[in-house]
Point group: C2
Chain length 570, copies 2
Amino acid sequence: MKLLRVDMHQLQTRWEPVPAAYERLGGRALIAQLLLEEVPPTCDALGPYNKLIFAPGLLGGVNVTTCGRLSVGGKSPLTRGAKEANAGGTAGDMLGKLDIKAVVVEGQAAKGNWYILHIHDESTELVPAGDVRGLGTYASSDRLQEKYGAESTVISIGQGGEWMMGGAGICVTGEGGQRSNHAARGGLGALMGSKGLKAVVIDKPEGKTASLANAELLRTAARAFAQKLINDPKLGKSGTQHLYGTASIVAVVNEMGAFPTRNFREGSFEGAEKLRGEHLREVTLGRGGEVGTRCMPGCVIACRNVYVDESKTPIVGTLQYETIALMGSNLGLGNLDEIAQLNRMCNDFGLDTIETGAALGVAIEAGLAKFGDFESVRALLAQVGEGTVLGRLIGNGAAATGRVLGVRRVPAALGQAMPGYDPRSLKGNGVTYATSPQGADHTAGNAFGARKEVNPLVVPGQKELSLRLQIIAAMLDSTGLCLFARPPIIAEPQLMVDMINGRFGWGWTVDDYNRFNRQVLRTELEFNRRAGLTSADYRIPEYMHAEALPPHNVTFDVPDSDLDAVFEKL
Amino acid sequence: MKLLRVDMHQLQTRWEPVPAAYERLGGRALIAQLLLEEVPPTCDALGPYNKLIFAPGLLGGVNVTTCGRLSVGGKSPLTRGAKEANAGGTAGDMLGKLDIKAVVVEGQAAKGNWYILHIHDESTELVPAGDVRGLGTYASSDRLQEKYGAESTVISIGQGGEWMMGGAGICVTGEGGQRSNHAARGGLGALMGSKGLKAVVIDKPEGKTASLANAELLRTAARAFAQKLINDPKLGKSGTQHLYGTASIVAVVNEMGAFPTRNFREGSFEGAEKLRGEHLREVTLGRGGEVGTRCMPGCVIACRNVYVDESKTPIVGTLQYETIALMGSNLGLGNLDEIAQLNRMCNDFGLDTIETGAALGVAIEAGLAKFGDFESVRALLAQVGEGTVLGRLIGNGAAATGRVLGVRRVPAALGQAMPGYDPRSLKGNGVTYATSPQGADHTAGNAFGARKEVNPLVVPGQKELSLRLQIIAAMLDSTGLCLFARPPIIAEPQLMVDMINGRFGWGWTVDDYNRFNRQVLRTELEFNRRAGLTSADYRIPEYMHAEALPPHNVTFDVPDSDLDAVFEKL
């Protein structure tokens, strides 16, 4: 494999053999190590010393289902620590097939100059962005695929990233004209913007396949893995995740009292019924939209939808749980059409719907719009596209919005907005938000799936649960695996070990694999420590310790000593 | 002496004997210790657990010249650490005469409810702010003195504090209708606003004098101290500071290449001639304004002015160096009338001119106004009074403005804007900005006065100089002494020891005094450590290490190892 270095200051690209330190790493693991080795931990996240890294997971590009996620990383302008966010689409698969371990973007272009990085097999070039600059992600993707071919993959930022907004993510196209896979969290779009890089285009590598050390071993394990997914009652063709997508959990989270409602003031929403996955499916199919579509080629779960309006025009593909929570109940909105419109605006601006939904909730708290009043919320979000100062503020996320507007009720940890699970009534998630090197994040160690195992309302068991889930999350994010595909690997780690050995021939044991997963967290924690982050930065906001959350009237009461102990057994 | 506790949640006040831990402390020293003992270091600075402390220095209320400054403190919303800012005016003297060690404001009033704390000798009350709410500091002071008497002292916040802006300070009235003494730095006005406290009114304590342990000892030392000030060639009647005020240093700082110009892009300003103290004096006297006035009763230095317009109407009293630098050259403005207008607006809004000047420079950098174009700058600052989101952003200071507008060139350290000395060409100040528990601050250890002793352009000697100056600053801020009055005390510490012993009878030696001064810094550093601040938070911004500052073309090149070593000998 090889590394592509992109120097935005000199406007040069360079292939490099993979340095030994990165050889057995991929995705999030590679990002963490590269940050530790190459990025000054206290550097300005939007300055020239930070690096933007695109890395497929270890299994990117090989014929394994749901393993094609693209990891994007760097030092986060929001958390000020190590950040990885990943997205579906075709980029992870393409880079893997090209045997590219990572694309590392360094330095900064001269202010006001914007470029497109074009990768065609071994040939690479940086070309001026021209009139793609200033466009949203939909138009950017369209324009670039018109130029480079409909089968090319486009990784782009919208206005959010161009203006270096802390809530900006990075958009990745998928097969069949998909436009909305987002490596959304942590402001990595702002990092891409700070480099002067508007987009990366990867031409489809015709006839290329990733090299395999033991094709037979890989094939056998991959087949067993796919079969287990298909046979899983939740994931297979009649499973809730295939039928209803991520929105399948709306009803349960709402019943648990953990469904963020009106800026995390309440834990259940009176309008939740119309936000349920079942309703989403019904509306979508009734209008001629699609359900059960894929974000990555060959995925056997297919949890995605294409949400359309009444005239069958696609609004977004896909409408997901986190967006429904943060831009729906969190804003007092109970109408999927309205949520889908806000979602589309965020997608186009290239903004994280979690961060932006939380920021809108905070802005409403400050009186700038009204809970439940779609038009006032839409007008507020529209400011982002209009480039007003208010728009820039909202686009910078919940913490900045709260600070400037003098709002104390900001649902964030480590500077990053909380996803759709109130930590007071899903305490395992609270522990993850308050300790993960990634900050408050729905994929860093989500305890929702373990709610029957550890009572989400009590303190005992949460710290152990969070650690276990954080280690699994690190594995998923480093192999390119989707969160939904984890059950067979948790049940039988040897499957993953075989797939990795089949690809690389490293002769790993399950012990090696466990060590690898834990090391990801250790490396990130060390980077964050060197970046000057302390427990004071990580914690759950003060008001959540004092304000009881209806309907269970619970506060976040996991003691600091438990939080401090999470990584003792790492 | 006694302590006044003000509970803004219960709306109760309570006198309390001074706890033993605070007995031998005053001003900044008391604030530091009280924070360490009573305020959870990781608390939300604008939440209910922070405390706002008003404390005269040890010599407040006694008949010692220039010792009546009022210290205000709490955990800063800007630096997130221990903060003390002090102001002249009559408050320090009044509280001292009332034998009040400190007024400690705790808890928070119900949202939207605003109160005035009225202190009349031993009687205290919290009364609704009524229509004083929403007023600037000029009108607030007028209104409250109309009600409580022209001789009462008013401590108030303006719109900045009410809206909890990070750049908000606290205004203190002085004798003869003075309206603009400001405990400006660190966002303490926002802290006052978060409590729901619009103002404190202290009626003049008729016939009260501070109790003295040894009146003769105090009188002798105080007389010697005053005489030394009068005899000092710089401070006496023919001294530059009396004649030209703080603006006397404009020419020298400009020649040194440390005069912040156009958002710290340059170190000398082509229009500096018209900003000099000599010019300020000439214009002021020519128009019938005043120079050589006092901020505190009985001050023998009298460095203040009343700057008037051509029709002799007072604009501000006093126009000072830091404002001239940050709102003048830093914004490309070379006209004192224009600077005075911006100054008056800040005073009225209750905003720190340093923080706000720096924020305006950053906003100009983002294209929201033009360097040197007064009208565009005035319009930008006017937004604060109009309550727009842009106004709230500017009012929140340089770091927030930079973050939201995507500007990397933000002259701040520990979240607080730098005063009027570029750290690249006055490296001793850079060391102070980068290490002081108070963040970038002009009174925390200012190396300007030592420029002939340690070459400001070279690295050697700066860390020792900064430590020495930081210790002296801690002494000044804890005794109520003005920065200008330090030379006699530095030359002869026994003078201060005698004055303190005369007041309290503690039998201090010079060693005790030295220990006391150092302990202030130790306590603050410990609070900041517990608040989670690390060297990564303290440092000089990255761009100042890379961008050479004209005319000397120097970067900030003091190595981190020197910065880390500053407090080794504390």
